[in-house]
């Protein structure tokens, strides 16, 4: 029972490949993954368009809900009658903003969702494919990250058309129009950090595969929580007052709620820098957790046969 010695690519005894060499490798990985993804572009575009169908039911559901609140005239304590553009708001969101919110979370999820990442890592561990990264001068996490970036880029290249179509059709729901430049930049930054948080968080869950061979049930649990608590299902301020602080403390909100709230100007300007800093801190935290889990996992790992 001997574990395979790990050669870190940075400290490897092979001849150093230098910065240019590394860039060439990255470019190659990116290009391969990118073209691999574009094979199914027709299916892709159609699938993206279909993904907006549930938005239609959401629009009608919230339309009916806001109607009945407006008609009954009973507004619960924390829900104030809104301004000129929105007659009623709940949790700070009027009807149009609510729809805009759901549309924006679609963008946020397009960045932060990582289908198949954790289960893929666990599968590679179980089937022993992970050995490859221990003997070749390629770093597993870096390789997967580049792959994911390429997949996402291919996805956006195709999905931009259906997204543009739906956002054009729904332009009236964006009451305040386009946000000011600094908010938009924050929105972009939070999307990119959301992507990275999603990646390192799921990769870390996949690393649990070093300890337990089967992670699918754990993954399902994570997905349930992330669906509910990331704000994908509803804006987080709708939560009862005693739960909201806890949920705000969790990193899950950066996967869907936070970017959308930034775009809609729901985060007070004076709190925005702090919130962005907290998001960055969570990102660093998950990078460290992921790296640490990988190094501990590899130390634990035993490879047989081949």
């Amino acid at each position: 029972m001997s574990t395979i010695p790990v050669s870190q690519p940075t400290t490897s005894h092979h001849a150093p490949i230098g910065v240019m060499g590394r860039l060439r490798i990255w470019k190659m990985i990116f290009a391969t993954a990118f073209s691999e993804r574009l094979v199914y572009r027709g299916d892709f575009a159609l699938g993206t368009l279909m993904r907006f169908l549930p938005i239609i039911t959401q629009i009608f559901l919230w339309w009916a809900i806001f109607d009945s609140i407006a008609q009954s005239g009973v507004i619960s304590q924390e829900d104030a009658p809104g301004g000129a553009s929105e007659s009623v708001t709940i949790g700070g969101y009027g009807f149009r903003e609510m729809v805009a919110y759901y549309l924006l979370t679609m963008i946020a999820r397009a960045f932060s969702s990582m289908p198949g990442l954790a289960s893929g890592i666990a599968l590679q561990i179980r089937e022993g494919e992970i050995k490859r990264y221990m003997i070749q001068p390629i770093d597993l996490i870096g390789f997967l990250l580049l792959n994911r970036v390429a997949h996402k880029c291919a996805y956006y290249a195709v999905a931009i058309a259906p997204f543009a179509l739906v956002f054009y059709l729904c332009r009236d729901y964006f009451v305040d129009g386009f946000p000011p430049t600094h908010l938009f930049l924050c929105f972009l930054a939070s999307l990119i950090m959301g992507f990275l948080i999603g990646f390192f968080l799921e990769a870390a869950i996949g690393m649990i595969g070093f300890w337990f061979l089967e992670v699918s049930s754990l993954l399902f649990l994570y997905m349930l929580f992330s669906f509910f608590l990331s704000g994908h299902m509803f804006p987080l301020p709708l939560l009862p007052d005693w739960i909201e602080p806890f949920v705000n403390f969790l990193p899950l909100k950066y996967l869907a709620y936070f970017p959308a709230a930034v775009f809609l100007g729901k985060i007070p300007e004076d709190e925005l820098p702090m919130e962005m800093a907290i998001q960055a801190a969570w990102l660093v935290f998950f990078i460290v957790v992921c790296r640490f889990a990988y190094s501990r996992g590899v130390a634990r790992y035993s490879g047989y046969g081949g």
Binding site: M50, L53, F60, A64, V74, F220, L221, L238
Partner: protein
């Protein structure tokens, strides 16, 4: 005739038994599957509880207040869990059979092919959600009966009609699913079947009144009359949540249409299935 029905009953019972044996072989997996679908239920209940923190009803004057809407939710849960337990695994397998050519063996068996394809597997763990639906229904019926404003206890007649129309709902969903999976004979591969199914049935999860306005009216018409997914949950849920009498003509008209739609969709699914089989060319063997 009776012996024939008896034969199908025995075959079905054997299928159900085999599936149960299979499920019980991996018992932990079975428990995890039950728990995860219950988790999904809890999440939905939580979502609607949050909504009803902010509003008294869904839709102005629609009558779907909290207790009644939870009865609606329970109905959705009953119908979906039955469809997922009995038909979903079979529809998925059907697409696979077509792709691999395994359908040849199903065609050779001395039994109706649609029956064989539709009932071969029973996913027992999906019935956990049926139990969850029961809990939601009992709690909301209790709250509906004991609340101070406008308490209501459904009559025995309501329950009989409710069960009957839940059955109709399951039949409509089954027909839709068979039609969708039969298309994989023409398309070869039908990976997005499950997605498409989810997106279509998504419309059936809310009271139909909410679509009947503005640009929702074409959708309302389409999903009531062409692809009748809106009547699936709405008709039984209205029957249990409101008194049988008095009701307007339009209400009875909808109930009648639900019956007609059930018969029509079962017949349509039969026709689509047979036509699709006609163009089946075996895969390899």
């Amino acid at each position: 005739m009776w012996s024939e029905i008896n034969r199908y009953r025995r075959v079905f019972l054997t299928f159900a038994q085999n599936s149960l044996v299979r499920d019980m072989t991996f018992r932990t997996n079975f428990v995890i599957e039950c728990l995860s679908s219950l988790g999904w239920t809890l999440m939905n209940v939580g979502f609607y509880l949050i909504i009803f923190e902010h509003t008294n009803s869904i839709g102005a004057d629609s009558g779907w207040d909290r207790e009644k809407f939870f009865l609606f939710l329970a109905t959705t849960w009953f119908i979906n869990s039955l469809v997922q337990a009995f038909f979903m695994p079979n529809a998925e397998e059907f697409s696979e059979l077509i792709r691999t050519g395994g359908l040849d063996f199903a065609l050779l068996k001395p039994i109706d092919t649609q029956f064989l394809i539709s009932f071969r597997r029973v996913s027992w763990s999906s019935l956990a959600n049926f139990g969850a639906g029961l809990v939601i229904a009992v709690v909301s019926l209790w709250q509906l009966a004991t609340r101070e404003i406008d308490p209501y206890v459904p009559s025995a007649m309501s329950f009989v009609l409710y069960v009957l129309f839940c059955g109709c709902g399951v039949a409509i969903m089954y027909s839709l699913m068979i039609c969708l999976s039969a298309t994989s004979i023409w398309l070869g591969r039908n990976q997005t079947l499950y997605n498409f199914w989810f997106y279509i049935t998504n419309f059936s999860r809310y009271p139909m009144e909410i679509y009947n306005r503005g640009w929702g009216q074409p959708l309302y018409g389409l999903f009531t009359f062409v692809i009748p997914v809106l009547v699936v949950v709405n008709v039984p849920a209205r029957l249990i949540a409101r008194p049988v009498e008095p009701r307007g003509d339009s209400e009875w008209w909808l109930v009648g249409w639900a019956l007609v739609a059930t018969v029509l969709s079962v017949l349509a699914s039969r026709w689509v299935f047979r036509t699709a089989l006609g163009s089946y060319r075996s895969a390899s063997s």
